[in-house]
Amino acid sequence: MTVRPPYALTPAEQRRIERIDQLVVLGAEGVPELLGLAGDPSWTVRRAAVSALAALGDESIAAMCSWLATQRVSERAIAAVVDALATSVAPAVAAAAIELLANATPAVAADGAVILGRRRAIEGLPALVAALAHPDDNVAVAAIEALGSLGLAGAPAAATEPLIAVVEGRSFFRAFPALQVLARSGDPRAVKPIAALLGDPVFRLEAVRALGRTGSALAIPPLCSLLGDDRATIRVVATALADLVTRSEWSGAGTHVVRSLHTALASSLDALVAALPGADPSERAALIRVLGRTATATVLPVLAAALGDAAVRDVAADAIKALARGHEIALIGPLGDADPATLVEVVPLVTSLRDAPAIRGLLDDADPELRARACEALARIGDTSAVADLFDALADVNPRVALAAAGAIQSLHSAETAPRALAELATGTPAVRRQVLRIVAYLGLPDAFAAVRAATDDPDPKIAELAVAAIAAIADPRGDVVLATLARAPAAGLRAAVMRALAHRGSDAAGGALIAGVADDDAWVRYYAVQGLGRLGYGAATPQLLDRLADAAPFVRIAAIEALARLDTPAAWVALTSAVRSQDPDERRAALVGLGQHARPAALPILVAAARTGDLATRLIALSGLAVQTSDEVIHELATAARDVEPALRAAALSLLGERDEPAAIDALVEIAVTSELDDPVHRALSRASPARIAALADRLARAGEGDASVLAAALARMADPRATAALFDALAAGSPAVRRAVATSLAAMDATGASATVARLAAEDPDPEVRRVSAALVESD
């Protein structure tokens, strides 16, 4: 295979890009030549020209608009100039684009619409609405698409009725894009005209998809009316319903929508199931999702069979979980003689005690993975009567099964555990005794002391080490003597286990033994000794810990950094600020963790710098460290990280921002939310319910406009919190028409108590005509 060579500039391209850099410095004087380079055959050169023209701001607008209107020498040059205007730093572009939209040449007018849409220029709204009636289809379509870009939820309310008129006009080229834009708008007035297209074979399928995109419970009846049709239609409807559920979750209407679907689909379950064979993966996923949200246990075998389909496995698992959660049903029983491959996927989904007998039966299955998952399931469902069987499973030849059984016994609090554990300690095989020691270490069984003490002398090092951990967990003062003795054991592994145990036990005698361990010959003994001193906050060990910063073993040095961080002394601070410059990335990270544990202002610039560059783990650690600081700069850094190209960093930053209730944090989240897709994690971060968060969102909602009202209202609605719902009602008094529209839509979508009366009042009395019309649409469908 010829590996594609890396994209490298030719010398000629490099020269043209350097010329572009020179032209930028010239300002307006360089614009004509830059416009020439906008049509360059090299994509890379064109991109540089676009960036340059955009960066010139006001200096280039007039020339670019004039060029678009009068020259238009090539398609790629046109595209480049449109890009430049769309991304220009100058706010005046919007006004210039409105003028372009009024140009007599349709192609120019269309470019104007595109620019307004890409800039989300709300000031272009009247011109774009007017352009819906343009005689040229391309201009009208560009205007439609631009309207759809003006807000997160699509077209502003003022565009709804003109767009409805386009849809009702049924122009082939205009109605389809108008359908899509209307559907995404979240405006309840959109549902009826879209549903009216279901009777038109030309628009039917697109109308189905559009109804799904509304995310509105109002769309459910017209969609479900098609479930008596052929299977292909049923699959499209299911896809739309799945989309509808997803979108309703964003608007806070999820519960209401699922309830409505449950009722609407009761007589159509068979049709949905029958549509599965032959469906493509996305359709299967949609069908399964809908069945899981709305069906009963009768569809369980169908969903379980889908677990064997890699393309839809995750969706099927979610559907089964939703079903089981909603109906408290047994999962294994209804499956009968299920394929072993199906069973192994279903068992982790079991959450009901009703499945206990069937799960216990699986402990003898020939498949070790099934046996292990059965152990885990028994713990999850709390079947304490299975403890005896689980003790038997400790002897399983498969270590995963034995470990799972031990973990399950630890989780299940049974009176049977202690006596059985003691018995197995006395007579069990080495493998069983290892697992039992884990159980004893977890539960700290006092009666087991003698047996555990004896096990510390076992020739099997694994048993001896596990016994040491168990000794530490037993609240018996003799344990201190045992550990002190074993701290001098010949085997390094045992001494290391003692150091770990001392840290967990935390007795008065631990400090001395741990300090002695810091000087051990074995690096891992030193590691756990150092770690233990840090965990116990043993300040007296600071000199020894400082010495370990120069240990030959890097992990001991790291443990020393971590331990000093916990002590939070001046000497520790010096050590951390030095270690943060280490050549070893793990040492640097350990230092950053330490710096992040205490809200010292002096740590802020170090953490900020680390959050901006370097490997992902370092940046994540730095972000977490910043989160404990209270400076305003922290919110700025988190907000910047929340827009990072790295998804894990974005998610971490959003999560950390989501935990803060300062107005600046909320503003940062809202700024991101209004330009993010509906499934972006920012929306979840925004809707964490707390009194301070609700108050902050309510305050912001009172001042909201067209661009952010729906985002804020949806955030409050998603909280499903009475205080948040009350805040929505309150916002009706203080807010703008955009706020009242958004709140009315949210309250109706949630089916909140009192919403009907409130929306009816708005429909009759609100001073704003758009508010009255939106509310009327909500009332009409109630």
Binding site: G407, E465, P554, F555, R589, L616, A617, L620, A651
Partner: protein, 273 residues
Amino acid sequence: MAQLELTPQLFAIFSALVEQACGLHYDPLDRDLFGAKLAAHAAELGYDSLLDFYYRLRYDDPDGSELQRLAEALVVHETYFFRELEPLKTLVDVYLVRAIAERGRARVWSAACATGEEPLTLAMLLAERGLLDRVEILATDLSTAAIARAREGKHGRRSLRSDHPAELAQRYLDRVASGVLVTPRIQRAVEFRALNLLDDAAIAALGAFDVVLCRNVLIYFSDELVVRIVDKLTRALAPGGVIAVGVSESLLRFGTSLACEERGNSFFYRGAP
């Protein structure tokens, strides 16, 4: 077991370590699955802190054996007999028949075979066509444990799914209480060997193949590594040989000189003649 929770930071350092060692790529969306396997493995080794385990792997694993053991625990071994059967039939009926007609014999490499069900299925199809003795089948996998199990010829019950072809299964497989046994003739037809797809020298030593199977494996690697691996597989092709990937996979987006051919609703990637 609070300390065996895989935080995003721990995921970042562990996944980087694993990817560097054996190429397995874990997306943040895979964090839960990765964390579950990692935690189980670390707990079995006696660690109550994933960070302790990380330092062991990073600083105290001179021969890489601990990292190798972790990689084996992480690698997904989901495979079963007759999985994606139609493309295998096409490989036999079109490509292997042709290669045998031209040269008398053919060679097949099942790269990343896990516990061997795929190459064994291929062997069954060849036996049906009377061609088993004319084809050399080599099957490799990163996991020595999986290769050991493949050599035993004993497979779990999940290796035979409910929709399997009954006649083939009846002829070449024996169902027992514990699972499925492969008939000796089929078992003998496949040579199993441990091999890391990142090991250039080992791959070069394998020679040239008429068919290379690499199905439902590339999804576990980063795009950059996929390009490198596909390059290695391509170099292992005999003139006009083909690479077969999983039905939901495609090599087209990686920029390859292989020619994509569609046969019977399946796609194959043919090397230069």
